[in-house]
């Protein structure tokens, strides 16, 4: 019996969307072999979330291969030969465990994201894309590979109660979503913000910073749409994956 028949329709849908999210990160050049992870809460199971099987590359991940774990780190998926990444468990259990409003937590190690994560100035208000994060992004100091579960409380403290994005200093980026679609959308925008910032700053020329008023106004414009931007784009993303390789939905 395939996994599809053994889980709830809601869990299956989450698995398909989460597998799609992994494939999309790879398609848009935001993967790093097996080095990062995306976690998604299992609908109806407050104590469980899904993570990637450690060892599969992002373009290989399928709905059925995702591993269900609880917040104690126990693997709940029977007969999975894979485990989960220990640092991934720390980071995503911290975010999903600390924020009931977050259903998906997404982490990358991209060139531009790592570069901005090493800048004392953090993310600058230089682009429309970055307005989504205007005065709405958090920072977490680097402590080493996140296998020490004590770091969970500092991750939760640094992310805070409302922000949906976190820069992991000297490490990479993290976005949150009220659904998987929103987490992907936030990351797509954050990645582009970082790319534009790195390029603009590399010139050494004087930069135009968006004013505080316009920054606050634009962030609120964007936030007022809830998850709509992520939801609106999702069918197109799935059509794209379906054209390339529909095996994510397996």
């Amino acid at each position: 019996m395939s996994l599809r028949d053994r889980v709830t329709p809601e869990e299956w849908q989450t698995r398909v969307d989460l597998a799609a999210c992994y494939r999309l990160l790879d398609f848009y050049d935001m993967s790093d072999l097996t080095g990062t992870h995306v976690g998604a809460r299992v609908p109806g199971e407050p104590d469980a979330f899904l993570l990637n099987p450690h060892g599969m590359f992002f373009h290989e991940i399928t709905a059925s291969s995702l591993v269900k774990v609880n917040f104690d780190g126990d693997v709940l998926t029977e007969d999975s030969e894979y485990g989960v990444n220990a640092a991934g468990f720390t980071i995503h259990s911290a975010v999903l465990g600390g924020r009931d409003d977050v259903a998906c937590s997404l982490h990358t190690h991209t060139r531009a994201g790592m570069a901005v994560s090493a800048m004392d100035c953090g993310l600058l208000p230089l682009s429309q894309h970055s307005m989504l994060f205007y005065d709405a992004i958090s920072y977490h100091d680097y402590e080493g590979v996140a296998t020490n579960l004590d770091e969970c409380q500092r991750l939760q403290r640094d992310l805070g109660e409302a922000n949906m994005a976190l820069i992991l200093k000297n490490h990479g980026l993290l976005t949150c979503g009220r659904n998987i679609q929103e987490a992907f959308w936030m990351m797509f925008r954050l990645e582009k913000s970082c790319q534009a910032q790195v390029d603009a700053m590399s010139t050494g020329a004087e930069l135009i910073h968006v004013s505080k008023d316009v920054g606050n106004f634009t962030r609120d414009q964007m936030k007022s749409r809830g998850t709509a931007f992520g939801d609106m784009g999702w069918p197109g993303h799935l059509r794209r994956l379906d054209r390339l390789d529909a095996s994510y939905a397996h």
Partner: protein, 263 residues
């Protein structure tokens, strides 16, 4: 909120408009769909976040724009949405249009009747140059085309406030064919669709070279004013000829990849 509800109509399931529109409108639709595909193929798309519009031949007050939610590599001639200057949707479609796209494109089409196609991007290099006080620098042959022929517009937030149109028009001016949208991206205005694409291809490369040239941290050579001036005259005289010459090659390029843009 409803304007952003997820819509999932596959472009191949949209009935053909070919028999329902004039041959001139159909040709414009095919070329505009091709332009969307090319912007994607050349790495200048941003999901559904930007837009390209073209005036409908013989209908000066109507223009075609993308169905919001289709990505650029999915757009077809029949899926493009016709709207008027007031933003009324004249096509029979389940898709909506992007509100900021309407603001930006209706501003240019309403004020500049020499412009047939308006093309807007959010590229890495374009966004980066848009955040520089110095603007586009006369650092490359590609940039020489734009020096003295490019407007600059300050960022005001997502362009859903229709009052912004006056300022967009004033900043673009009566003859410029490109504009840097500060802290946002790039825009080109073509005398036809091939021209708008040709201009964005040049402007994008000019921005890429500027970023890399300036990033080196070494002294930059700026093109002499007299050479800038003579180059500008040279390019002006060329009009749309270079763009028109390349367009069949672009269509052959697309035809080898995926001919569905013509649907």
């Amino acid at each position: 909120m409803s304007a952003l509800a997820a819509i999932d109509v596959r472009p191949e399931d949209i009935p053909t408009m070919r028999e329902k529109v004039s041959p001139e409108e159909w040709e414009t639709r095919v070329n505009l769909a091709a332009c969307y595909r090319l912007v994607d193929y050349y790495g200048m798309s941003d999901l559904a976040g930007t837009h390209i519009s073209a005036r409908v031949p013989g209908e000066d007050d109507n223009f075609l724009i993308n169905p919001y939610g289709l990505f650029f590599d999915e757009i077809t001639a029949s899926s493009l949405i016709k709207i008027d200057m007031d933003g009324n949707i004249l096509s029979d479609t389940e898709y909506r249009i992007n509100a900021a796209g309407y603001t930006i494109h209706s501003a240019v089409h309403g004020a500049r009747h020499d412009v047939q196609c308006v093309l807007h991007t959010h590229t890495r290099a374009g966004m980066a140059v848009s955040a520089l006080k110095c603007g586009l620098m006369p650092m490359s042959q590609h940039s020489a085309r734009f020096i003295g022929n490019t407007g600059y517009h300050d960022y005001e937030g997502v362009a859903t406030n229709l009052d912004e149109r006056e300022r967009l028009v004033a900043d673009l001016g009566p003859t410029n064919t490109a504009m840097v949208l500060h802290n946002h991206g790039l825009m080109t205005c073509g005398y036809n669709i091939p021209h708008a694409f040709w201009l964005i291809h040049k402007l994008e490369k000019a921005c890429q070279a500027q970023i890399d040239g300036m990033a080196a941290g070494t002294k930059v050579i700026e093109i002499d004013q007299s050479v800038q001036d003579s180059t500008a005259v040279h390019f002006k005289k060329g009009g749309t000829a270079g763009a028109d010459r390349n367009w069949p090659g672009h269509l052959r390029e697309l035809d080898r990849l995926d001919t569905s843009y013509k649907h």
